[in-house]
């Protein structure tokens, strides 16, 4: 904290710094000094080279833009808050932290700010004409309104076919035109990071009628975009000249709706955010709530959280591995691994009650204790899985065709991976040894033994190899959890309608896709004031987008597959 103060003083930035227990050092700087402060913090000996998250909080009078930074070198967290008036201009920091590219667009549109200095300052999640949803003044539909389905009249034939198109956007005067090159608005950056070629020019700016190139629209309905991702590719032959990811086809306001849910019910929304690994999202929220409310979680509950989390991690990695096989054209891996996933879902249903939307981890512990039948099923599964995982390894990873398809494709070096805010297996595939389970232990992970697989190459194959090894490690942890499950309560005593004191906290877990964080602001009522969901898949997506130029269509499919995108999480 004192270091941060010194750095900011040297850069002549006026800042007030306080330490929030569950968050780290919080610096508040003025909006004119924000870029200077961030550059200073990045290049100083504090070396905060990693933007964890960027989001806004509507305080009622203004919008606080929060830059959550991390220094891997000093293992420190730092939060920079900048106040912006409604409708004011948010100056882009993407040239300082490329990870800010998409979160900035999202924050600007959802809080009704203007975006300056951004290479692609368009709406990200919503269509033109949508109000800034995350403003506190905008209220969601009331109970009466949602019960009355008939009230919403839509003439299906008159649907605007261009809704969701890229025309328009933030076309206010003074802001760069959509697709305008970055060079038009030069921003002095002291240490430029490697700028990916694709960012210079977005394909939506290409004049299709008069171009020699083919502009291909991949998605939102496409067999291998894993949901409703839309990629606009500018092609020269089959080679991608530039590519742009368009998202928001699944934007359903999880962050907004959480503000009107009780603390015990927010988990139901988070389950549907990252819908293949619901336990992790629930856990991140529970951790944040427990930090604010100061709840001590029983040991057995921690073990159960780990157990279910790791089961869920295998299930989630399977939904990556199978479709990864499909993307590369192999049908077998998909069906062989889904056999295992069925077993896992069976176990999860036995313990939690549902196959995918568990609503199981709550602030204070877990809802139900483990059943005896589930225990037997887990043991049987582990024996079976040990055989299957080796088979799967050989089936795809050992296959020369798959190797030829994936090795050397979509390489992120260490710098780029950190710059784009990659976390999880994508980051470890690029040689950064960082795992929240080990480096910021939560639940019972400090008592479990496991290895963190790391690969140096940074290509698609490396990411696949890391994930496969993670499955083995998860199986190892599940065995430890089930053997060493301590006696005791499965939940702490928590009020039925939880009202944590006013405060702010950040809870992060290592979800199968990376660092899944929940930044929670409480105001003392029974529902959160603001809940920010840090989506690791969004950061993976923008990194993947930047990697598109120079690849072939087939590579693009494999690259996006290897980033393990879940669009529910990307769009929220």
């Amino acid at each position: 904290m004192t270091v941060a103060r010194g750095v900011l003083e040297r850069a002549a930035v006026a800042a007030s710094i306080e330490t929030v227990e569950s968050l780290g050092a919080v610096c508040r700087v003025s909006s004119s000094d924000a870029r200077k402060a961030l550059v200073a913090l990045r290049d100083s000996d504090l070396a905060v080279g990693f933007l964890v998250d960027l989001f806004g909080i509507d305080t009622g009078e203004a919008v606080d833009i929060v830059y959550h930074l991390r220094s891997f070198a000093r293992d420190e967290e730092l939060v920079v808050k900048v106040e912006h008036g409604y409708g004011s201009t948010l100056e882009s920091v993407w040239d300082i932290f490329p990870a800010a590219l998409m979160p900035e667009r999202e924050t600007a549109e959802l809080f009704g700010l203007e975006l300056a200095g951004h290479p692609n300052p368009k709406r990200l999640l919503t269509t033109d004409g949508c109000p800034p949803y995350l403003r506190k003044s905008l209220v969601v539909r009331s109970a009466e309104e949602v019960r009355d389905r008939a009230s919403q009249h839509v003439d299906a034939t008159s649907l605007d076919r261009t809704a969701g198109s890229l025309a328009g956007g933030f076309a206010e005067p003074g802001v760069a035109e959509p697709g305008a090159s970055l060079d038009a608005t030069p921003i002095p950056a002291p240490k430029p990071l490697p700028v990916p070629r694709g960012l210079k020019r977005a394909p939506s700016g290409v004049d299709i009628e008069n171009s020699d190139r083919l502009v291909l629209n991949m998605g939102p309905q496409h067999p291998s975009t894993h949901g409703v991702l839309r990629l606009i590719l500018e092609l020269d032959g089959e080679e991608i000249v530039s590519g742009e990811a368009v998202i928001g086809y699944l934007h359903r306001g999880i962050e907004k709706l959480a503000e009107s849910r009780r603390y015990s019910a927010v988990g139901t929304l988070l389950d549907r955010g990252d819908y293949v690994s619901g336990i992790h999202a629930e856990l991140a929220f529970a951790l944040a709530t427990e930090k604010i409310a100061g709840i001590e979680v029983p040991r057995r509950a921690n073990y159960l959280r780990c157990l279910l989390g790791e089961l869920n991690r295998i299930a989630s990695h399977i939904t990556w591995y199978g479709p990864m096989g499909l993307d590369s054209g192999a049908m077998g891996p998909f069906l062989y691994t889904f056999r295992d996933r069925e077993t896992i879902l069976d176990i999860l249903e036995d313990i939690t009650g549902q196959r995918m939307m568990f609503n199981y981890v709550r602030p204070g512990g877990v809802v139900n204790d483990i059943t005896t039948t589930a225990e037997a099923k887990i043991r049987a599964f582990l024996d079976e899985f040990a055989v299957h995982v080796d088979e799967n390894d050989e089936l795809l990873m050992g296959n020369e065709i798959f190797q030829a398809r994936t090795q050397g494709i979509g390489v992120f070096d260490r710098e780029t991976a950190l710059g784009f805010g990659l976390t999880g297996a994508c980051l470890r595939g690029s040689g950064v040894d960082w795992d929240i389970r080990r480096d910021r232990p939560y639940a019972a992970y400090d008592e479990l033994e496991f290895d963190v697989p790391v690969a140096e190459e940074g290509d698609v194959y490396a990411r696949c190899a890391v994930r496969l090894e993670e499955m083995r490690q998860s199986a190892r942890m599940i065995r430890q959890c089930i053997e060493g499950l301590p006696e005791g309560e499965h939940t702490a005593k928590v009020a039925k309608v939880l009202r944590p004191p006013a405060g702010e906290a950040y809870g992060a877990v290592e979800s199968p896709r990376g660092e899944l964080g929940v930044h929670l602001v409480s105001d003392g009522t029974d529902s959160p004031y603001r809940m920010r969901y840090r989506p690791p898949a969004l950061y993976a997506l923008q990194a993947g987008e930047a990697m598109l130029p120079g690849l072939l269509i087939a590579d693009a499919v494999v690259l996006m597959g290897s980033m393990d995108l879940i669009l529910g999480e990307v769009d929220r």
Partner: protein, 164 residues
């Protein structure tokens, strides 16, 4: 030395090995998977031995539901006994999270194992579980016998932080 193509042959071997394994398919309409006890599907009414509803009309479930899918319409008589006119359940929007069952202090509703819910008529997306029945008296509480269910009435622990 690794011969190019050996990986491909190994893949084929694994495929054929799997071919020898028994299919795990459950032929659904003809045979069904047994659901675990905790499985949560459509909300159903729990009745006591006489076949009367246990619902007292306390609307704890209606308030606990995050989706506003439960709507209980009550009329209160002069002797403060309640009469349930409609117990509306909008099955088409239910996410089967079980929060209503957790909230119910009288064990009056449960998550059934009924998952064959498909219907062709949109008006059936909203159904009534109870129509025009007298509500159970508050004195007949059965929750003490079911330790898994939280025992307090929903209005009791308002306020207070986690330590309450």
């Amino acid at each position: 030395m690794k011969i190019y193509g050996s990986g491909i042959l190994k893949s084929m071997r694994i495929a054929f090995r799997n071919m020898m394994r028994e299919p795990i398919t459950v032929q659904y309409p003809h045979e069904k998977v047994e659901l675990p006890e905790r499985a949560r599907w459509a909300v159903a009414m729990n009745y006591d031995e006489q076949g009367d509803t246990k619902c007292t009309g306390c609307i704890a479930c209606e308030r606990a539901c995050p989706d506003y899918i439960i709507k209980i319409e009550l009329t209160t008589a002069e002797d403060r006994s309640k009469h349930i006119d409609h117990w509306r359940y909008e099955i088409g929007a239910c996410m089967m999270c079980g929060l209503c069952v957790e909230a119910c202090p009288y064990d009056a509703i449960l998550m059934s194992h009924e998952y064959e819910l498909a219907r062709t008529d949109p008006s059936l997306l909203s159904i009534e579980l109870l129509t025009d029945v007298p509500a159970a008296a508050i004195t007949r509480r059965t929750s003490a016998a079911v330790p898994a269910m939280p025992a307090e009435p929903p209005t009791a622990p308002e306020g207070g932080a986690a330590d309450a």
